[in-house]
């Protein structure tokens, strides 16, 4: 039997992701990689994969896979009805795994023991939707080879982790490099009110809708480097929170950053959901 997973239905958007392409931003290649790194890493640990093994990032459920051999799989992140969650299970050859639509959260990570083995591009198997690098999003009929990125079998086979919230998400922010480009009250507005998540959000960023942040300083900002978590404010005054596929450099001022460890939870925000940004107390 061949160690493959057959994609019967890809759902709205399923991509292959790993840790991305760190170190190449100097030549205009963004890091990309799993949006919710904590859930991705947990999935690999639960099936005993080496760090950096490629997994599937399933957006809004809908993925249907058929195992062509006995394969150990797990899902983490957004819980999809119909799939075993936070605990590995063996799919028997011929068995079908069907991921329903998650009730909370947006992105589910499906890891298979051995990792998904698609050809790496610049050292990574991640799809970068902005940089157009890496494998295409999955389509029905794709056969995914399962690789050999196995580590020792894990000591833990069930993980107790908090589910993504369906209610208001509160995350911590710290000042960004261009906070002084904004009106004196902008920071207080950003960190006291709440924002809704816009429908145009994707792996590049979460569009926040709420009180506009007024700029005090006019003129163009020469492009500068960005990292995920940046709250970039275009002329509309509505911030965009950058996720994994954010542009390497950007030309709009960054008023603040969501602290790195909270960005994972931001990547589980769904359109319409509420997010509260609060200044980190040190």
């Amino acid at each position: 039997m061949s160690r493959h997973l057959l994609v019967e239905e890809p759902g709205p958007l399923t991509t292959v992701q790993d840790e991305g392409r760190p170190g190449l931003a100097g030549i205009g290649v963004g890091r990309s990689g799993a949006c919710d790194r904590a859930s991705y890493r947990l999935a690999n640990r639960l099936v005993g994969n080496r760090d950096g093994a490629a997994a599937l990032e399933v957006t809004f459920g809908g993925l249907v896979l058929r195992a062509e051999a006995d394969l150990e799989v797990v899902t983490t992140g957004a819980r999809c009805p119909g799939a075993p969650h936070n605990a590995p299970t063996v799919l028997r050859a011929g068995e079908v795994l069907r991921l329903g639509v998650p009730e909370t959260g947006l992105r589910t990570y499906l890891a298979v023991r051995g990792g998904v083995d698609v050809p790496p591009v610049l050292g990574s198997r991640s799809t970068d939707v902005l940089g157009h690098l890496g494998p295409a999003a999955l389509t029905a009929g794709d056969r995914l080879r399962v690789g050999d990125a196995r580590a020792a079998a894990p000591a833990v086979d069930v993980a107790a982790v908090a589910e993504p919230t369906g209610g208001a998400l509160e995350v911590r922010v710290v000042p960004g490099p261009r906070r002084d480009w904004f009106a004196p009250d902008a920071w207080a507005r950003l960190t006291s009110g709440s924002y809704g998540v816009g429908a145009e959000s994707n792996r590049v960023g979460v569009r926040l809708e709420g009180e506009a942040l007024r700029r005090e300083r006019e003129g163009e900002l020469p492009s500068e480097g960005m990292v995920r978590g940046a709250l970039q404010v275009p002329p509309s005054g509505q911030p965009v929170l950058f996720l994994a596929d954010h542009p390497v450099t950007g030309g709009y001022p960054v008023i603040g950053y969501v602290v790195d460890e909270d960005v994972d939870r931001c990547s589980q925000l769904r359109p319409g959901q509420e997010v509260r940004l609060r200044e980190r107390r040190t």
């Binding site: 931003a25 100097g26 290649v29 157009h132 960004g176 261009r178 500068e224 990292v227 978590g229 390497v248």
Partner: protein, 210 residues
């Protein structure tokens, strides 16, 4: 060194001008390669800044900032002698905006070509797309406004001008730069190591394609 806060996973270094960026990038890159900046995973030069990205699991912005402040940027040459070999980029100067650019600069199309090919350029930084370099002229400054309405599709290999920069589109994409020509040289090739010909600090000479 002027540092600005950039969240918990990066430190932004502010520079006076592009020359300052090139010198700072050289110094920071060498320090990172020499393991003098613990936790640094990426160095991103841009128009007036150099961003140092760190792994928040292994270091903090304060630690990286401290290491950066100990660097002596003054002694670093903007262009590494080892990198100083000049890349020749052959260009067919038949771009759709060549006449417009000549009009903006108050000269003829031939003068634009002569100016573009006369003298060296240096890749100051990359961005916009994988392998897209922002090249700045070693002598004499350019100042060409972007097109008022960007094109939805600029063909791959287009050689273009905007602001003080020239660049080569590594693949077909939307774009607002003024197109003066095209090259057959593949400036970004995933099957080549390194994939980007126009990496920061690379010296370039444009020549008229035969």
């Amino acid at each position: 060194m002027r540092l600005r806060p950039s969240g918990t996973a990066a430190v932004l270094v502010e520079c006076e001008d592009l020359d300052g960026v090139l010198a700072t990038y050289a110094a920071v890159r060498a320090a990172v390669d020499g393991d003098l900046v613990p936790g640094a995973v990426d160095v991103v030069p841009a128009a007036r800044t150099v961003l140092v990205v760190l792994d928040p699991r292994t270091s903090t912005p304060e630690e990286v900032g401290g290491a950066l402040e100990r660097l002596d940027v003054g002694t670093a040459d903007a262009v590494d002698e080892e990198d100083a070999d000049v890349l020749e980029v052959p260009v067919h100067y038949d771009g759709d905006d060549l006449a417009d650019v000549a009009g903006i600069l108050g000269c003829g199309p031939d003068d634009v070509v002569e100016r573009h090919t006369n003298g060296l350029w240096t890749v100051a930084f990359c961005g916009f797309a994988p392998g897209f370099g922002y090249l700045t002229a070693d002598e004499g400054t350019w100042d060409v406004p972007r097109r008022e309405s960007p094109r939805t599709k600029v063909p791959r290999g287009s050689v273009a001008l905007a602001g003080e920069f020239t660049g080569v589109y590594p693949r077909s994409s939307p774009g607002g730069w003024q197109l003066i020509g095209r090259t057959d040289l593949d400036v970004f090739d995933l099957d080549r190591d390194p994939p980007a010909l126009l990496a920061p600090r690379r010296r370039v000479r444009f020549v008229v394609a035969s």
